[in-house]
């Protein structure tokens, strides 16, 4: 049985720069939540803090009522086992083939799994993302879109409860963006109880895949709701961001 994630008053600073200044957000069970915001507003920091890759300065991250910000390194490792993550630039291991990248979490964590079973699951994961024929390729032989899809396959292969995406469509052409969006939606629909968080500033993609949208601005969530709420919101910051206008409260 999966748990929902609740973020309460999360704070993170780097020196004098306050990046997260009290983020409150709930990720509903089995849904895709997209956090939008301008570049440099701390979206990736929020993601890495949620994963335990960065320690917050204050606040809580509650998974099924357990505050993971207070866990030690070993306990945090166990919590991370429940997560999958797709990094902004895929972060595939360039010393391995695509197949070995996807097989890596299985071989590391399910050490007793027979190689035939590993192969079966990796082949299935690669087929799901449309890379059935690319398993033998090295990472440097892949296009940007193929890397993202391979990263999705790697994140999904162990069937995580929570899947985090850091700007999954950045740098892709519109067709590949639509393809990756469809892949994310399909992964969500075909994985029971999967709770996803996507960091993005792509409004079109957000409208296509989100169940819930939250906007991060100046270290806080200033607005949250359904994609439709965002389209009709009268909040000046949201309005400027959604419409992509230069005039408004957000100064460039």
């Amino acid at each position: 049985m999966s748990d929902s994630i609740r973020i309460v008053g999360l704070q993170k600073s780097f020196g004098a720069q306050k990046v997260l200044q009290g983020v409150d957000l709930e990720l509903p069970l089995g849904q895709i939540t997209v956090v939008i915001g301008r570049s440099g507003t701390g979206k990736s920091v929020l993601l890495k803090t949620l994963m335990g890759l960065m320690r917050p300065d204050g606040g809580s991250i509650l998974i099924g009522g357990q505050d993971i910000t207070r866990l030690g390194d070993r306990e945090l490792m166990r919590v991370r086992n429940r997560f999958g993550m797709v990094f902004q630039h895929a972060a595939l291991f360039d010393s391995m083939t695509v197949f070995d990248n996807v097989a890596f979490p299985l071989r590391e964590h399910d050490r007793k799994m027979k190689e035939a079973e590993v192969k079966r699951r990796v082949d299935a994961a690669l087929a799901d993302v449309g890379l059935a024929e690319a398993g033998h390729k090295w990472v440097h032989e892949l296009s940007g879109g193929m890397r993202k899809r391979a990263a999705v396959a790697r994140a999904l292969v162990r069937k995580p409860e929570f899947l985090l995406y850091d700007e999954p469509t950045t740098g892709l052409d519109p067709i590949m963006t639509a393809h990756v969006d469809e892949l994310i939606r399909s992964a969500q629909d075909h994985t029971e109880g999967l709770t996803s968080l996507i960091i993005s500033h792509d409004m079109q993609a957000t409208m296509r895949i989100a169940d819930k949208v939250a906007m991060l601005h100046e270290g806080r969530i200033i607005h949250e709701g359904t994609p439709e709420d965002f389209q009709t919101s009268s909040h000046p910051v949201v309005r400027q961001f959604v419409d992509g206008k230069l005039e408004g409260p957000i100064q460039v």
């Binding site: 890495k48 994963m51 991370r80 997560f83 990094f87 630039h89 972060a91 890596f104 979490p105």
Partner: protein, 263 residues
């Protein structure tokens, strides 16, 4: 004056912080060697990289060091009419000092730099974050096999250096310099003890630990893209090179009384 003190304080703080971070990193890596999971495949891969990959440069360095050392020593011993001591003196120097130190410095240039660059690149491309996100201890996965492989392979490389160095000395002394082979080999066998070889191999294992742990540490904490990786690599090679020479002195001080007791 106040500014100078504050500047000095800042430097001292940074050094203390760096040493503390290195100690913590190394401790985690060493614990990672003894703690499961054991990744034999990674260990053998690193042993092949450190050992087999360095064999040719170590052999070439060893043979030419022995040869040039023979030429220079012959000149010096010739002034005192003690050319018969050439073999034993040069081979003692090779096994006790030159073997472990030069082997480690050569391997540091090749392996220490590669470890720093590889881990640094993994850091700046988020591959280390990816490991962590998959609930894998990145220090145990990346640093532990590299450190253990270096500690296992450096003594073997050092022994290779000693052997080819001795061959180089023997060739130059007996064929080129015309030293009488009888006394040459006789004294070499008489003065050079297995303890000298073991001592050199022990030193090289320590140096292997130093160069690999520093290389991994610098790479692991690299920041700032390609430039950061470059800086981390340079720092790793320089720090390990200097530390090998410093630590060599102290290890020699510890090993010297054992040699005295033996004689």
């Amino acid at each position: 004056m106040k500014d100078s003190i504050s500047l000095l304080g800042g430097v001292v703080l940074r050094v203390v912080e760096d040493v503390g971070q290195y100690a913590r990193f190394t401790m985690t890596a060493v614990l990672g060697i003894v703690r499961p999971p054991y990744r034999w495949r990674l260990l053998f891969k690193q042993m092949e990289f450190v050992g087999n990959g360095s064999l040719s440069i170590v052999a070439i360095t060893g043979v030419f060091t022995g040869m040039v050392f023979a030429v220079q020593s012959d000149y010096a011993f010739g002034m005192f009419g003690a050319r018969g001591l050439l073999g034993s003196t040069v081979v003692l120097a090779l096994t006790r000092e030159l073997g472990p130190v030069l082997t480690s410095l050569m391997v540091n240039g090749r392996v220490g730099s590669a470890m720093a660059a590889e881990l640094g690149t993994m850091r700046v491309t988020e591959q280390i974050d990816a490991l962590e996100s998959m609930a894998i201890d990145p220090i145990q996965y990346l640093a532990s096999p590299r450190i253990l492989a270096s500690m296992l392979m450096l003594p073997i490389l050092c022994a290779t250096f000693d052997a080819v160095g001795a061959i180089g000395v023997s060739y130059v002394a007996t064929y080129t310099l015309g030293v009488n082979p009888g006394p040459f080999f006789d004294r070499m066998m008489w003065y050079v003890d297995t303890d000298d070889i073991w001592g050199g191999m022990l030193k090289s294992a320590i140096f292997g630990f130093l160069l690999s742990s520093i290389g991994c540490y610098r790479g692991y904490y690299a920041r700032g893209g390609a430039e950061g990786v470059g800086q981390a690599t340079t720092k790793a090679v320089v720090a390990a090179g200097v530390l090998i020479l410093v630590v060599d002195y102290f290890v020699s001080l510890i090993l010297a009384p054992m040699s005295v007791n033996r004689s």
